[in-house]
Symmetry: C2
Subunit: 525 residues, 2 copies
């Protein structure tokens, strides 16, 4: 391989406006748009996931689904609607359950006079009992579990659902927080507390493995404090990742629900001795938020950067020829190259190739693929064809670097190159996290690390440069009042208490109480 | 191979009560229940798809999705909710659009006084504009298409969505007609009428191929008359299958929408000469109804019968041993057999094996798998193990027939056996259809074939024996008034005018007008 100048005219010099440094929040929206991952719709807070974004989601689904099945789970599907009475039952058992949700009250549209006095269609056929569009399915799945579980022989019951859910969010951002989103929710029931806790931690481990090995996103596995727990859970575990603006993003949660939901849904079984007990349950989920996390972990000022193992396509081949007499030969050459690449196995599938022969300017075409984050771009012109070589550009090396590679060498080394990119993305993200994580041993240090809350520094306007801090690792004795204060004064939350790593005797930097482990504090999404 | 008596005690003699002959509708519900495919929920008309049923759906999805992608379609995802105003816009363009749908009017639950005077949770936070849970997505996808399509270069636009949809149905039946169901909906836009019509027919062909080659269900491809068309469509094409009670079931539709929806959604493009035109669009869909169709095509009085190519699992291995000292050796033998079978490629995946070592009665265990419709059951006891053979039962051969097969022969021939079952199911269904299809050449013959409508003969109570008729192939000049009369008097509809087969000059048996093709008439689901 030898580094050379590109054959074609220089491409336009900037892709995403603004840059991360100028305005991180706006940069994020522009990357989503430019990469054609998703767009907003006329429905408040609901997004359209475009083909490139949905193909990424399908790859996530495929890999996660295999991991769930290997660990013994089966998929099923439960109703979109939950009767209002289920929420009343839950409200009795669970403090602080979600109330912002979409409520169906009618089952017909009929001609009538609208609120503004004009004639049109109005809701008709009022329901006796309103239905809620599921914000999560513990209660409706619990109703089935209560029927399915009779004896210890029916346990463990290990179920997963891929579904859409709706939570009425006041402020939404594509992928990170939308009114409707896609997710999977695992729900399991066990005969013993120990088994349920093992399941909770096993799925936390599955999420962490997936985030690190497939998304190339380093995560901290930890437990939430009481203040940040899922309503109704006994323990909530999570994976937390650091975004490029040094804020934390919770990317997946796994809840140990004790017997709380079994009580609410009446999930009981008779044990070996015929004694009737309540089951122990868990739930765990990840969502399309994962895509937002990948963008904020890997994308750069040129656009999206896809981890190769999950990329909808690995390589785009662009025929470059200005003479009509060579066009067909170059296209045929590219078609054969694509066919050969599609035979190569990689990351549980085969290399996926886009052959882009559209009749648009070469520079525009390259930039579209750069913004979309495809790992490899390959250009083939008549001279390359004669030399049986291709011009290759790696998405992780800046948009100017292209190298000439012999065709056969390109095919023989493509999986090595992709794996090098995959591990490079992970290493870069991990180095960024380590650089911006600090052991903090006093409240004064903590305050200096984060600085006072800046009103202009909220999600919608924050810039990469102005967010202070990162991950503060500090001894902490959990206390709701302290967390309230930190949120108000510094916009900081306790992200988690890591489950890995050594125990370490210490003193809470806020209360002076004893602590055995450092917690992670950060600003967050 | 030699036919022998089973080693274990005789199994119970009947599985499904009632039989098809006794009460077809009730038999259907009992098969769904006994096969553990789905169950009703507390939410009116919404079903729970159980793991065995959902795995079947996943297999359908996987194969269909591949067929859609091979034909150039990409998946995307659009909002669950559709603004009320979109329906008003559609109502202007489309006569007879669906009005029975779930309407979201509030976005919060709050404490309050309920209709019955008791305190509880009530809907709060009324929406300015109500939202409708999608019954189908032409309008919301049309809104995106209007943005995505600018120039002829953006066409054709070939999109598919896998999603849940909701239609408020008065009478529901698991899989066949439910308030919420899962489906795929293809939506495409084209520059010319010809291309859009080609797409419409191409997807009809995909559905027919899938139904026949994968579901083992023979179908007639045809066009609907105006009376049965999708509201807003110019032409609606469908695949129609005959169920075991000789009624027709529409299993998939493909609509040529002309420019109607492009007008409603403002999908325009500039052509090569810069002239602005409306696009030509299509839509096509199949749903979880496919599972109902498979049940009513193949299941028998013992329960479900799965077409091997789509079966969630192909073979169950049951260790049969009553002596503790041989139990482990038999189990190990079965585990090795399962591992070897899982290496065998079949129908785009590998043989999927259930190893059932549960501690329940052997007869109950066998019957569970018979009812679930697994293609092959294999029993292995200590004596089989010594002889290196297994006892095999085929689901399509009645529950009493078991044969002893050498282990290696079983592995070597399993794909041949499964393909034999697959083609046998298809042949049996096709013979049933042919036996019950009749060329009808006069109104008198037609009336004798179907008999007058019997009020007791509706879906909920019909028995296999009492439904008269089948498929009547008669010359017909489409006329809404005639179809109204046939529906009222005979509960018969024109299912379609087949697109294949020779043209044939004739005279409409109802009106005496000329006709060039026979139409298919039947009672239907």
């Amino acid at each position: 391989m030898s580094t050379q100048k590109p054959q074609s005219a220089p491409a336009p010099t900037t892709a995403i406006t603004p840059t991360r440094e100028q305005n991180y929040a706006e940069w994020y929206q522009q990357v989503v748009r430019a990469a054609e991952l998703a767009e907003t719709s006329d429905v408040r807070g609901c997004m359209v996931i475009k083909p490139w974004g949905y193909a990424l989601w399908e790859n996530l689904q495929r890999v996660l689904d295999r991991m769930f099945k290997v660990t013994g789970h089966k998929n099923a599907y439960f109703p979109l609607f939950i009767p209002l009475s289920y929420f009343e039952k839950e409200a009795e058992h669970v403090e602080g359950f979600a109330k912002e949700c979409a409520v169906v009250t009618h089952h017909r549209l009929a001609p009538g006079i609208k609120a503004d006095g004009r004639p049109g269609l109005v809701p008709a056929g009022e329901l006796q009992e309103p239905l809620v569009v599921r914000p999560t399915s513990e209660t409706i799945i619990g109703a089935s579990f209560a029927k399915w579980v009779q004896s210890y022989r029916d346990l463990p019951l290990l179920i997963n659902q891929w579904a859409n859910v709706v939570r009425w969010e006041m402020r939404t951002r594509l992928f990170l927080r939308t009114t409707e989103f896609l997710w999977q929710e695992g729900h399991t029931a066990h005969a013993t507390e120990k088994e349920a806790m093992e399941e909770t931690l096993k799925m936390l481990e599955v999420y962490a493995e997936f985030a690190e090995n497939w998304m190339a996103m380093p995560v901290i596995k930890g437990e939430k404090t009481a203040a940040e727990r899922f309503p109704g859970a006994v323990n909530t575990f999570c994976i937390e990742a650091m975004m490029q603006d040094r804020k934390a993003l919770q990317a997946g949660t796994s809840h140990f629900l004790g017997q709380n939901f079994a009580h609410a849904s009446d999930i009981k079984f008779s044990d070996v001795d015929g004694k009737v007990n309540f089951a122990w349950t868990t739930s765990w989920g990840v969502s399309t938020r994962f895509i937002g996390a990948m963008i904020m972990t890997h994308a750069d000022d040129d656009g999206m950067v896809l981890p190769p193992r999950l990329a909808p396509a690995h390589v785009v081949i662009i025929p470059v020829t200005h003479k009509p007499e060579t066009a067909q030969a170059v296209l045929d050459y590219c078609t054969r190259l694509a066919a050969d690449l599609r035979e190569v196995a990689y990351a549980g599938r085969t290399i996926e190739v886009e052959l882009d022969n559209r009749d648009i300017r070469g520079g525009d075409k390259s930039w579209q693929w750069i913004k979309r984050g495809i790992p490899l771009r390959v250009e083939v012109g008549p001279r390359d064809m004669e030399q049986d070589s291709v011009f290759m550009a790696r998405r992780d090396r800046g948009h100017k670097e292209k190298i000439s590679v012999k065709r056969d060498e390109f095919i023989a080394t493509i999986t090595t190159v992709l794996e090098d990119m995959q591990s490079g993305l992970f290493a870069r993200a991990k180095a960024h996290r380590e650089l911006n994580s600090k052991r903090i041993d006093s409240r004064a240090e903590f305050e200096a690390f984060f600085g006072a809350k800046n009103d202009a520094e909220d999600e919608a306007t924050s810039t990469g440069g102005s967010v202070k801090g990162g991950f503060a690792l500090a001894h902490y004795a959990p206390d709701d009042a302290i967390e309230d204060e930190l949120k108000t004064k510094f916009a900081v939350t306790c992200r988690c208490i890591p489950v890995d790593g050594p125990a370490e005797a210490g003193i809470c930097i806020f209360s002076g109480k004893p602590s055995t482990r450092r917690a992670v504090f950060a600003k967050s999404y």
